[in-house]
Every structure is written in structure tokens, then in C-alpha cells.
Subunit: 149 residues, 2 copies
DNA sequence: TTTGTTTCTATGTTTAAACATTTAATCGAC
DNA sequence: GTCGATTAAATGTTTAAACATAGAAACAAA
């Protein structure tokens, strides 16, 4: 559906201006669908994101600050997100050997199991809802990378 | 900059999967820059969005539910957003004539003045940061509209 | 009119985001 | 070594988001 219809705005001044709103609107749209999936597992979207980051380095640990660097939403508080994951048994914390200011975080096997449960549902959504071909998607990626300079 | 470098992930399984993350990441990126601009005027991004919606109908009023329909983030609470705008003098509320359940909301002249102040700054950002041509932007818009079905 | 149902907005409550500050560890200059 | 500066993570506090629920008005049927 065209953005104009979805937000009931008749026209945009430029395609570039529309693209800005379109990116924000589409991100909200994707986010709200994924949110429903995460909710079944009592996870938030940033928490899921951190789990994926941790799995990407497993079995190596990541410090809180390096998690923050890799997060999609860099404004949110990595320390508190790790807190939640540790509470739920999906991650473990230990003080870093070389620098006692730093904290090493590792995903647990429970965390890995959880990711394996959630992933098929997310893929189903991507496949069912996204009509994009790989070429279209590649064009989007190129353009978005350009937007961010 | 490519998404892989920004979030320090080496590869993606498909372009489509990358496109999902790219949309979310880019929306956060745009949002955080705009947030800095809005902050100078003590507005939040959803509040700015509502003001734009109200101006779009001025001098006609909009009910709270029709504002909600047009909002980019449809999950947030339009009633409380209008509250904040009324507090600040940027909007006015009055009960609807033919249906006393509904509430008519109109942008004030102070609200319109505020929008005129903020807009040039947003346009500066769009022009300075966005390297996209109109054709590129049009392609993004087409693809994002496709993503949402 | 009355009763039940739906619609529109407001409100209550729990949780997280945003932002600043604190505490502890490290580093560098002297 | 000491001192100040810097960095990493945690914590405190204020504000808003998320979600459910309530309350008032409209509507429809008996």
C-alpha cells in the first residue's frame, strides 16, 4: 500500500522527503509485527537484538560497551538490557580478566535455544509479508546505506 | 556506510533479511538526528508528527481517533499526545458538536509558528545528509511500499 | 423507555526509555 | 609512587511508551 494512503496524506513535496517518512513508517510497521512475535517469548526487541549479537561472537564474550556499539538502537541502555537477559537465564556476566572495569557477557545454552525457537517465526513473517525480490532488496540496501552517508 | 560495518556484523544470509535490519537501523539513525532538532524546541518526535497532521487539516479540526489513524507510530497514545500539545499552547481541544464523545483538535497559531521554525532545520538535515537523487528516493519508496504489502 | 452493545476518549498502572550522575578501575604525566 | 583525567559499567530519576480498563455518549432493538 502506498504511504500516502496509509497515513492519509495526499502528496509529498519531494520523493526524498517521502523516503524519510517511509523509512520511519516501515520500521514501525516491521517493529510492531516482530513485537507480537517477541512478546510470546516475553522478550523485547532490543533484548532479542542483544541475544543475536551475543550469539554472533559465541563462544567468545562481549563487553557491555561492545554490545552497545553493535546495537541497532544505540541509545538504549545495554547494561540494563544485559541485566534482563541474565535474570532470565539467557546470558551470563563475569568480570573481564584484563580490565576489571569491563564485564564479559556470554549467551547461555538457554539463550541459544530460545533464538532457535524464535527464528523460524521471524522467517515466516519475512517470507509471507515481504514481496521483495532479492534484487529489489539489494537496491533498498544500497539506497539506505547511501542515506546514512 | 554499509550496514555490516556499522553494526559490525560480517554477513547477512539474504538481502531481504538485511533490508529488514537496514530499515530499522536507518529509521533509528534518522530518528536520533531529528530528535536532537526537536529537543531544542522541547518537542518529541510523535508530538511533532501530530502537529504536522493538524496543520494538514487546518482550519478544520481533527478528532483524536482520526489523528491516531494518521500517526506514523500508531501504537502511541494520541489522547496523551494532544494533552501535551494543549499544555504547551500548540493545540486546542473542544467537544465535537454532533457527537459529544468525540473531541475536536485544532492547531493554534503558536503551533503553526513553531512548525515554521523547525522545518528549515529539518530540511537542512535532509539536504546535507541525504545523498539520494530523486530517482533513488523514488526507488526506495516503491520498494518500501512493496515491503508493507 | 430500557437494555445491551459499540464507539470514542480518558485514565491507571506497569515497564522501559532518556538522560545525568556515581563508582570503580585504568592510564598518563610528573 | 601520586594526582588528575579518562573510561566502563551501574544506578537514580524523570518522562514517556505500552497495555488494559473505565466511563460517557451514541446507537439499535425490543
Amino acid at each position: 500500500m502506498k504511504l500516502e494512503e496509509e497515513i492519509k496524506q495526499s502528496k509529498f513535496e519531494t520523493e526524498r522527503q517521502k523516503a524519510i517518512l517511509n523509512v520511519i513508517y516501515t520500521a514501525n510497521w516491521i517493529g510492531s509485527i516482530q513485537h507480537k512475535i517477541f512478546k510470546k517469548y516475553k522478550l523485547t526487541s532490543p533484548q532479542y537484538n542483544v541475544l543475536r549479537i551475543l550469539r554472533g561472537k559465541f563462544p567468545d564474550p562481549l563487553t557491555v560497551s561492545s554490545i552497545q556499539e553493535r546495537m541497532l538502537d544505540k541509545m538504549s541502555n545495554a547494561s540494563r538490557l544485559v541485566d534482563k537477559l541474565v535474570e532470565k537465564g539467557y546470558a551470563e556476566r563475569s568480570t573481564c580478566m584484563y580490565d576489571r572495569r569491563q564485564v564479559d557477557v556470554v549467551i547461555t545454552s538457554a539463550g541459544q535455544k530460545l533464538l532457535k525457537e524464535i527464528e523460524p517465526e521471524l522467517l515466516d513473517f519475512h517470507n509471507a509479508e515481504m514481496v521483495l525480490t532479492e534484487q529489489d532488496a539489494a537496491a533498498v540496501n544500497e539506497a539506505l546505506d547511501k542515506i546514512r552517508g
